[in-house]
């Protein structure tokens, strides 16, 4: 079966982000999107630890311990950047000022519920960070994830079995097999990997998918 590579997934997300957008890229796979934002657009990256206008990683030797991203990796600040404190940072998120955030996920339900913070494994130390704020904060919430778990189970589900991060919050899902919009009338496939039929994708996913 063909699959979109991670780079292809990131490039596809990047193409869908318009000029002038304020965007938060979550930790993990979504971070790759930063390398695939169209060069002819000005897109302003937000990091929830207090920076708008985040730039790429610094040259080796130029790291500044006071200038990091939400993953605590060294970053740079572009010309035009702004620093602010945590309550402002999450206020701009919760207040609906961010155009888009891109998040990883364990599961997304057909209704757009997101599970991405906790596996619920007994004994696991729970850690939530900004996941719940991001899930409900941006105008558009995009999820990037593998379509199937390593065991071959669909990560798109009728109801999340992992603890949810937010309810009815996901707008679009980018997987290695398809791009799927979450709509009021159900899941709508807007792109699919070459050689895969909608019927086969539906069978693999175990949920209803529309063209």
């Amino acid at each position: 079966m063909n699959r979109f590579t991670r780079e292809q997934m990131a490039a596809r997300v990047g193409r869908d982000i318009p000029n002038g957008a304020y965007v938060n890229l979550g930790i993990g796979l979504p971070t790759l999107v930063a390398n695939h934002l169209p060069r002819d657009r000005e897109i302003i990256l937000h990091t929830e630890n207090g920076l708008l206008g985040m730039g790429p990683a610094p040259e080796p030797g130029a790291e500044d311990p006071d200038l990091i991203n939400a993953g605590k990796q060294p970053v740079t600040a572009l010309a035009g950047a702004a620093f602010f404190h945590h309550a402002d940072s999450f206020g701009m998120m919760r207040g609906g000022h961010l155009d888009c955030c891109v998040l990883g996920a364990f599961q997304v339900s057909v209704g757009g519920d997101l599970a991405n913070w906790h596996t619920g494994t007994p004994g696991a130390i729970p850690a939530v960070g900004g996941a719940m704020d991001l899930a409900i904060g941006a105008k558009s919430v995009y999820v990037m994830m593998d379509h199937l778990t390593k065991k071959g189970e669909s990560k798109i589900v009728e109801r999340c079995t992992y603890p949810v991060t937010g309810l009815k919050c996901v707008n679009r899902i980018y997987t290695d097999l398809a791009v799927i919009d979450v709509t009021a009338k159900g899941l709508r496939v807007i792109d699919i990997v070459d050689g895969l039929s909608l019927a086969e994708l539906t069978r693999i996913s175990g949920v209803e998918l529309k063209d």
Partner: protein
């Protein structure tokens, strides 16, 4: 004359008592007031409730305070990190209580405490494990969770510059929780890299007005905090 500067970190933290609630600034190690924490460890207060975004990295700063078993409870959003092994061991041994709070709710609860808000409705966390048992309300078709302020006896934070009135300017993303913790605590103690003369800070650029600050300790940037190639954040 008002002079909030204090000579040493030890003098600045001397009156933090057993069982106190102490906010500690910083996101990971950016903005963490390491020298004030070291002074608190030396001072010996125990049974503390700590408010921080994380639960310590490696064995320095907050992690060292945890390792010294001075902390009864931690209120934070993201305890589990690749180098949070001190917290992890205490948690698994049942030797520390954890109150997990979504990061934006943590920030807003701290801000609420500093600005006299009794409680607030937030959409973050609605319908999740972290809102179980909490009061909820539908407002204009959207669901919210009632959250209460987090107050503290002390805040230990770090800034770049201060004057003797306690006005503060921060540096880059080390600002993070500093301004809101400064307002939320009864006694805010700041370590700054440099104390400047009154009037040297541009009033248009002051981030934390001195009204929120009780004590200022000058601790120049240590060589270990100057950017090093490959230094992990």
């Amino acid at each position: 004359m008002i002079d909030k500067t204090v000579g040493t970190a030890a003098a600045a933290v001397a009156d933090i008592g057993d069982g106190a609630t102490v906010m500690i600034g910083g996101f990971g190690t950016a903005g963490m007031p390491s020298e004030l924490i070291d002074a608190l460890i030396d001072q010996g207060a125990r049974g503390l409730t700590i408010v921080n975004n994380n639960a310590g990295n490696g064995e320095v700063g907050l992690a060292a305070l945890l390792k010294a078993k001075r902390v009864r409870k931690i209120i934070c959003s993201f305890p589990r990190q690749t180098d949070s092994y001190v917290f992890d061991a205490l948690y698994h041994a049942g030797e520390i209580e954890l109150e997990l709070v979504p990061q934006g709710n943590l920030a807003e609860r701290i801000r609420a405490a500093g600005s006299g808000i009794g409680a607030f409705f937030t959409p973050t966390g609605y319908g999740t494990l972290l809102a179980e048992g909490k009061e909820t309300r539908e407002i204009n078709g959207r669901n919210y969770v009632l959250e209460y302020p987090i107050e503290a006896d002390f805040a230990l934070i770090k800034a770049q510059h201060a004057d003797r009135w306690g006005n503060l300017v921060y540096r880059k993303t080390a600002r993070n929780f500093g301004p809101i913790m400064a307002a939320a605590a009864k006694c805010t103690i700041v370590q700054v890299r440099e104390v400047v003369n009154l009037g040297d800070l541009d009033p248009e650029a002051v981030v934390t007005p001195g009204i929120y600050v009780r004590r200022v300790v000058e601790i120049p940037m240590a060589a270990k905090f100057v950017a090093q190639p490959g230094a992990a954040a």
